[in-house]
């Protein structure tokens, strides 16, 4: 999100899901949309069937590519080069939106200078995308009035993730595709409330609504609202740096609510060592996750069906979810547990129900000020920013002006992945998710029908590579990186290009993050899940 915040002043999906019905072109890069956001994937497919164009940029032959007019399969980790190449063509051919660039943006000269080096030939050498195809894609994206750019973790999970995001934003601004209906730069968020967790200040550098921890007026406001006078002004640690600090013995206690870092974080051995090194690990969850099994205290929580509360989806829409049943046994809602912990810690809270908590959020968060329970109970949610109770919410951002005033072009140079393949580790492992499972499987692996459809982990390998290595479909293979090794069955499929293997992190039986590289983006802290060097052999 840091990349979008820097260019536009706001890090969220700029447009809304319903605007997809009117879009004339989709540019989808690093998003396996039909598998990861099925209902948004359906919108895209429906739009294509009524005549919209679709350009998919993805190394894998993802299901959405079947519907695409163009599928550009770039080499892993070359997104900046590809996007710079598109802008090079758009500027060279005079296809950019001059008026928009002049009136609404800054930094164009620098952008022009940097992308001038990314000619179609140069980009072909880096990315493997044919120069002719790149030119066709550039002309289509620039030449279409309502073009929506969608991306997901294929863009962010790189050591150059922030650069990738900035470069997407540069492309959209250059062509005037931001601040109008059915356009924009649209990061599809992976979890049902990942947008909300960010909006609520579950980040080391901001309070709610992205109010910075170091800003004096912000500190004053929260000190008054919370009745405290010693809030920390320095930014805290990210999840990745917390694990490093735990490993060094500097972070001594960790309180985890509804997360499973043991399976979800890169380099699992390092995570296990870090978590074991803590003096206190508290885990609050609905199941005994792999992380909870390591804890000193486990607090049983209610799941979504057993409590009321709001969730913010990928398009910034805050929606109310109601309580259907009681929690099992003595499990309790997370907000009730937190309240009890605070009371014992000498900081009493007295919210009778979640609506009272939201009333406080309304008071301290300008973008959520008008998103109140009475309004949510009457409709289908409200999209922030919603500054007061009369405001209808905001479907698309940056109309007439960017959140920060002028949009800033932040051009980036292409940088190779942190751990490229070499003669010993000669394959790239890229990881992701599949349709029938979800994240670390805490919920989806306990759903009978989903387990029936996707019961075991597989690694995708290209038929030509498989032939050379003597690997047949469903053979057991060993994959080794510099950090660990796993044994897993092979799926021989042309879905992956040559010299690339793909697997998921859903299955505790084969914790694929034993292999992944914790090298992360310097700004966002996101690890490079989308590429690390591995070697493969068939198990005898």
């Amino acid at each position: 999100m840091a990349g979008l915040a820097a260019t536009f002043g706001s890090g969220a999906m700029t447009n809304s899901i319903n605007e997809m019905d009117e879009a004339e072109l989709f540019f989808v890069i690093g998003s396996n949309t039909t598998e990861q956001h099925p209902l948004i994937g359906t919108r895209v497919i429906n739009a294509v069937e009524r005549g919209a164009r679709l350009i998919v940029v993805d190394p894998r032959d993802i299901p959405l590519a079947r519907y695409a007019h163009m599928h550009l399969r770039q080499n892993i980790g070359t997104d900046v080069a590809v996007l710079n190449g598109l802008m090079n063509i758009i500027i060279e051919e005079g296809l950019y939106d001059r008026e928009y660039v002049e009136t609404r943006t800054e930094g164009f000269d620098e952008l022009k200078r940097i992308v001038s080096r990314y000619t179609p030939r140069v980009v072909e050498q880096i990315s493997g995308i044919r120069a002719d195809d790149l030119m066709l894609a550039a002309r289509e994206y620039a030449g279409t009035g309502k073009a929506m750019l969608l991306y997901a973790m294929g863009i962010t999970q790189h050591t150059t993730g922030t650069d990738n995001v900035k470069t997407c934003a540069n492309l959209a601004m250059l062509t005037g595709h931001v601040g109008r209906p059915s356009t924009g730069v649209n990061p599809l968020r992976g979890q049902n409330n990942v947008q909300g967790a960010c909006d609520m200040g579950g980040l080391p550098v901001v309070y709610t609504g992205y109010q910075k921890v170091g800003d004096e007026p912000v500190i004053q406001k929260f000190s008054d609202a919370w009745g405290v006078d010693d809030l920390d002004k320095a930014p805290g640690l990210t999840i990745t740096t917390m694990m490093e600090a735990a490993d060094r013995g500097e972070l001594k206690a960790l309180y985890v609510m509804g997360e499973n870092p043991y399976l979800s974080d890169p380099d699992s051995k390092h995570i296990e060592r870090a978590l074991s090194n803590l003096d206190l690990l508290v885990v609050q969850d609905i199941f005994l996750s792999e992380t909870a099994a390591l804890a000193d205290v486990v607090l049983p929580a209610a799941c979504f069906a057993e409590k009321a509360g709001t969730y913010t989806n990928t398009e910034r829409r805050v929606q109310l979810s109601c309580k259907a049943v009681d929690p099992p046994g003595s499990a309790r809602a997370d907000w009730e547990i937190i309240q009890d912990v605070c009371a014992r810690a000498g900081y009493p809270m007295s919210y009778a129900d979640p609506s009272e908590i939201m009333a406080e959020i309304n008071r301290v968060t300008p973008s959520y000020a008008g998103i109140t329970y009475p309004r949510l109970e009457m409709g289908y949610g409200l999209s922030w920013p919603c500054p007061n109770e009369e405001h209808p919410g905001t479907a698309y951002l940056h109309k007439d002006r960017f959140s920060k005033g002028l949009g800033t072009f932040l051009p980036c140079e292409f940088k190779p992945m942190a751990e490229p393949p070499d003669t010993e580790y000669d394959f790239i492992l890229t990881t992701g998710r599949m349709y029938f499972q979800y994240h670390t499987g805490t919920m989806s692996r306990r759903v009978g029908i989903l387990e029936r459809e996707a019961p075991e982990p597989l690694v995708e390998i290209n038929p030509e590579d498989a032939r050379k290595l003597g690997i047949r479909d469903r053979d057991l293979v060993e994959i080794t990186s510099r950090r660990g090794a796993v044994k897993i069955k092979a799926e021989v499929t042309a879905r992956v290009p040559r010299k690339v293997v793909f697997s998921t992190f859903h299955f505790h039986e084969v914790p694929i993050n034993l292999l992944t590289n914790p090298a992360h983006d310097p700004v966002s802290g996101i690890p490079e899940y989308k590429g690390c060097a591995v070697k493969i052999r068939r198990c005898a």
Binding site: L39, A197, R344
Partner: protein, 133 residues
Amino acid sequence: MAKTSTICPFCGCGCNFYLVTEQNKVVGVEPSPGNPVNKGMLCAKGWNSYDFINSPLRLTTPLVRKNGKLTESTWDEALDFTVRRLREIQSDSGSNSLGFLASAKVSNEENYLFMKMARAAFKTNNIDHCARL
């Protein structure tokens, strides 16, 4: 039989559906036709999202590690232990020796309170969640 409006717990689409309940037990899912996000449609995960709610593996009681083993405890015991240890570690090693991981799965209200707990009650900005993962 009753129907309750809820939001799907899986991906970020935010599909709305009704949980169908009988005698305090969730027995099914019915998509909401009026909701502008999913317009009455759901994916395989959404249609089956109720199944894990009734799983016999759900945690139903607090656990505290004793002699190396997680052992059932009362809420009072688990919470007293948690807060006593957090405060001890804080006074020995400072507020920034504590870390808090919020959740992309729980509600806004709960993330807000968790964040408030970390910052107001325990005086640290060491709070993050798995948005990056």
